[in-house]
Amino acid sequence: MKPFLSIEKLVQKFPNGNGGEMTVFENASFGVEKGEFVVILGHSGCGKSTIMNILAGLADPTSGCVIMDGQEVKGPSLDRGVVFQNYSLLPWLTTLKNVTFGIKARHPEWTKSQVEEHATNFLAMVGLEGDVIHRKPSQLSGGMRQRVSIARAFANHPKLLLLDEPFGALDALTRGTIQDELLKIWGQMEQTVFMITHDIDEAILLADRILLMTNGPYARVAESVEITIPRPRNRTEIVEHPNYYAIRNHLVQFLGKRSKELAGQPTEASKTNKPKTVRIDLTDPTEDPENKRSTLKAVNS
């Protein structure tokens, strides 16, 4: 059976400026289950944002397709909400109006008071209440703006929520608070989320599964790392978990070394390039204790 979101043999090529073509990624294939929080991790330039734009329907791949809930993704849709890195709030609207803008598009049949109540609720969920919601985005801090963006996306109950490096422009402390808020709201909504980041700790805190991308050109999704840390998670507690550093080390090794080693190799078109599933669980009693420290167990799915 196909997963809820299925990315099949996605290829993206761009003209390279002197007549030829540059292959950003080739035969990228992976799936996302309903309700899952999947984070994609990779160096800049490997095509993460391109994948995101294709999922959002804002860009078309050179070949391959994306199937969500049994239907092929063609063009943007309200079923796929996007939180952009630079917030993308409309600066001439107030905070509240920015959220109602989305809700009105989703539920054109709702009354004004229904729309406003819904918006106010979601703004409250990300900690924006009272006077603040009548301010314009320019009067808000970066963190507050991103909260508005998140509220706008969640308020629409999209089938898939796409987060494009949502915390990239925020300072570390603000980032922490908003990650907590994102976790809280995600916990209440059972929302399927696909997120881009290049912050390893953020990825471990938030994700059910981390997809690792090799460097471009010919980038591919090489591994799918399960995060074997139980929820609810908390930034201060997860670092105590025995699996935390094992997973973190694996990710650091990948980004630091193997992403380069695996880069730049064209693959045969026949290969589907499914990512290798990696499960690191030091707490699992069924696992061979001898194997724990030396090599990390890789299982092909």
Binding site: S77, L78, V82, S88, L90, W92
Partner: protein, 277 residues
């Protein structure tokens, strides 16, 4: 002085400059001799009749008081109140201007949406734009045949370019992210145009409209000097023919005041649509 705000100090300085300027102007104009001080010979050679000359400010103020206390009198084609004359000018400016806006803004919108259209129309706009609007006058008079309509056409043609260019520029410059927000919310092209692109480009469009109304007001005076009949431009020229320089100076001031008010109106509108990013 330390207790006054910046604005108060500036206002005080403005008033001071005005007073000093008026005094210098007043002092610089030689007083005309009263008739009874003239010799018989001088009276016989016509020196007794009032001489044309640049009037002192005191006379202009008296004239202004006189005219503004009854601005709408109508005593025949050559003698109408200043309010009527300005009214005609504003009517022509607004008619030509609104016609131009009606065409320039939707058209600029379309050009701004398409890079091909933008590049294709650009050479025509660049050639037509620097033409002095009065250069169109003979052609307009010949084709349209009516002097009134020709004046309106001249206003139309001079105010269309800044609005067209600014609208196209503003629409073309709308941030891709905002358009993407509209796309991910499944807004149709019309809805996107009105809820995202128009508010995003509004400050630039308003700037174009403000430039246009300024140009239109500059041009109407010259156009009315040519077509005659009514209007503030005709009034200035008519008073020059009457050698009534007091009225000329007074109407020059009125042109300035009305122009300032028109600009201030658009300034207000502009402030309402401006947003900070």
């Amino acid at each position: 002085m330390g207790t006054l705000s910046l604005n108060q100090r500036a206002a005080l300085l403005s008033v001071l400059m005005l007073v000093v300027g008026l005094l210098i102007w007043e002092a610089a104009i030689p007083a005309q001799k009263a008739v009874k001080e003239l010799t018989e010979y001088e009276i016989l050679t016509g020196a007794g009749s009032p001489k044309a000359g640049v009037p002192p400010p005191s006379q202009v103020i008296i004239k202004a008081w006189d005219q503004l206390s009854d601005p709408f009198y109508d005593a025949g084609p050559n003698d109408k109140g200043i309010g009527i004359q300005i009214g005609y000018s504003i009517y022509r400016v607004l008619t030509g201007y609104l016609l131009a806006a009606l065409i320039a803004i939707p058209f600029g919108f379309l050009i701004g949406m398409s890079q091909v259209a933008y590049k294709a129309f650009n050479p025509f706009i660049q050639v037509l734009r620097p033409i002095s609007p009065l250069a169109w006058m003979p052609l307009a008079l010949f084709i349209i045949g009516d002097s009134e309509a020709s004046a309106i056409f001249v206003i139309f043609i001079c105010s269309i370019w800044p609005m067209l260019i600014n609208t196209a520029f503003g629409v073309a410059g709308v941030r891709e992210d905002w358009v993407n927000v509209a796309r991910t919310h499944e807004l149709g092209p019309i809805k996107t145009a009105f809820t995202v692109i128009l508010p995003a480009a509004a400050p630039t469009i308003l700037t174009g409209m403000r430039i246009s109304i300024g140009i239109a007001w500059l041009v109407i005076v010259a156009a009315e000097m040519l077509v005659g009949g009514t209007g503030i431009g005709y009034y200035v020229w008519n008073e020059w023919n009457n050698l009534d320089l007091t009225s000329v100076v007074f109407s020059i001031l009125m042109i300035g005041v009305v122009g300032m008010l028109l600009d201030a109106m658009f300034g207000l509108l502009q402030r309402r649509v401006t947003y900070a990013e």
